[in-house]
Amino acid sequence: MNAYGTKAGKSLKKHWQLYLLVIPPVLYFVVFKYIPMFNVVLAFKDYNVIKGIWGSPWVGAKYFDLFFRNPAFPTLLKNTLFISLYELAVNFPVPILLALALNEVRSVRFKRTVQLITYAPYFISTVVMVSIIILFLDPNQGIVNQILQALGIPATNFLGSPHLFRSVYVFSDAWQTAGYSAVIYLAALAGIDPSLYEAAKVDGASRLQKIWNVDIPGILPTIVIILILNVGNVMALGFEKIYLLQNPLNISTSEIIATYVYKIGLLNANYSFATAVGLFNSVVNLILLVLVNAIARRISSNSLW
């Protein structure tokens, strides 16, 4: 303790300016991140505006009970999981495939062009992205339906069909983020030891064998880390986009836990109930993250911590 204490004291004395610098950012984290974490006690209380969070009476698990017994609960959970897993199944492998394909291209110019173009949609805002989707999928004037009709396929109201909602969400995401997400894999591919390729060449490996035996093992650590991060985001899925894509026709498949929290919490001012639902979401998310991390560590010795 003593040696430790003097070490800290020495560092503090010598580098007091660094400690001073850290104060405002630390305050930021305390105020906007940690105090809200303590505010989740709201989930176990009956919130009363006048009494405030700490003065409001405790009600135990009342709101969790209310949520789990709510007829909407199974649907919300199903929608949230279904969209997330679909998203994971498509938008986790697509960037990897894109990166592997780009890595084979020898023409620098072609490679650059593809990268530059596929990267661009990432910078489009959610609001604009959703309005593009709505404009393109319009049942009467949308370009997608015009193309389909030109091919002899009847017009479809994509956003008005509950069973198509998930596909619209997932594939528009692929369009928007695949190029951006591929960058990290391309970086990992560029970092593979060139001697491995030489060895593969000497062994007479075909292109496909080289991808399978050198490229993929080479980027496996990156793949695992990204997979963990993605699974850790399963419950925290793109609220902003889903909320904007919702309409009365597709609500049966598009209502997820996050949009529900927003509606009952801020629009209906039911703070305690919304906090309980949000807390449920965060906890499930955290458990998933810890679980996947543990599995990854056991299987591949790659993990976040």
């Binding site: 070490k7 800290a8 560092s11 010598k14 580098h15 300016q17 660094l18 400690y19 610098l21 850290v22 405002p24 950012p25 630390v26 930021y28 105020v31 906007f32 991140k33 940690y34 105090i35 809200p36 974490m37 303590f38 505010n39 989740v40 709201l42 394909a101 780009l102 062009t113 593809v114 530059l116 173009i117 596929t118 661009a120 949609p121 910078f123 489009i124 805002s125 959610t126 609001v127 309005s131 593009i132 404009l135 004037q141 370009i143 369009w175 960058v183 970086a187 060449k201 075909s206 292109r207 496909l208 880390i225 850790g232 996050a258 919490g265 703070y271 919304a274 906090t275 949000g278 965060s282």
Partner: protein, 298 residues
């Protein structure tokens, strides 16, 4: 990689695969590019051509009517000005705060840095959620003020990690120690040595924060009530998604009005996305660099 003089004729299977890859990537390129071209072309067409579905690839009956409507819309101009304000000041605040914590975290001599790192990273894993955060912002008195868009999300943990990794690898501890012996204070060292050496990472931070700020709508949706504070994205939502075009456009009849609104949407998409899309090819190099730095597990 392979030197050309040594190249042996590749086996048939390999050439097949390469051919397929080129075809596939070309398709990806078209699929990405076509919607973008379609939007730009529509925005330069006439109202009737857009609503009649005559635009396929290039502008039909070229006109600037859509853009004129956009620039005559008071809401959009207000939103544009507000978004510029939020982007400039929000980005500045974010960069300063991020550097203030990332640099000390990168120094070995900074006692307690691993504890502080855990303190920060934990906020990535667990959050209080929407309502508890909202109540804090309310308690601090930021609701319906410009600060509500500048402060509550000012620091992104991921950016701190990237910046810290950059400082760690690019500002050697020996350099800091040497200047310390010369009697240079930490803050002077940061201002005169660290920052000039950190242009690439500053560019990355600026781009990421600026794009994030320019594109954000959710914080504005929950924290702002007065429309003259609204950022562009919130007006876009009401015009593009909720179809509430304000009546500042003078069109002879309802049908014409409807056509014009349809056209204006395309012009509006172009106008609102332009600042970001124009800047990004120039900073792309730094951007990729930044992602690489972040990819090295810190």
């Amino acid at each position: 990689m392979a030197s050309r003089s040594l190249r042996i004729r590749e086996p048939f299977g390999d050439r097949m695969l390469l051919g397929m890859i080129y075809v596939l990537l070309t398709l990806v390129l078209i699929a990405t590019l076509y919607p973008l071209i379609f939007i730009v072309s529509s925005s330069f067409s006439s109202p009737a051509a857009v609503s009649g579905g005559h635009v396929w690839l290039w502008p039909v009956e070229p006109s600037l009517i859509g853009y004129r409507a956009v620039f005559h819309n008071g809401q959009i101009l207000t939103g544009y000005a507000n978004s510029l304000f939020y982007t400039v000041f929000g980005t500045m605040i974010s960069i300063v705060l991020t550097t203030m914590i990332a640099y000390p975290l990168s120094r070995r001599t900074f006692f307690g840095r691993s504890g502080l790192m855990v303190f920060i990273v934990f906020t990535m894993l667990f959050s209080g959620g929407l309502i508890p955060t909202y109540l804090v912002v309310k308690a601090v008195g930021l609701i319906d003020t410009r600060w509500a868009l500048l402060l509550p999300n000012a620091i992104w943990v991921w950016q701190v990690i990237i910046a810290r990794t950059f400082f760690q690898t690019n500002i050697p501890d020996e350099l800091a120690e040497a200047s310390e012996i010369d009697g240079c204070s930490d803050i002077r060292f940061i201002l005169q040595v660290v920052l000039p050496l950190s242009k690439p990472i500053m560019a990355v931070l600026a781009l990421m924060y600026a794009v994030g700020q320019w594109n954000a709508y959710f914080d504005a949706l929950i924290y702002l009530k007065t429309s003259h504070l609204y950022p562009l994205q919130l007006f876009l939502r009401s015009i593009l998604i909720q179809n509430n075009a304000s009546g500042t456009i003078n069109a002879a009849d309802a049908a014409q009005q409807l056509q014009l609104t349809g056209l204006m949407k395309y012009s509006l998409i172009v106008v609102s996305s332009l600042p970001v899309l124009v800047i990004y090819p120039f900073v792309q190099r730094y951007f990729v660099q930044g992602m690489l730095i972040g990819a090295v597990k810190g």
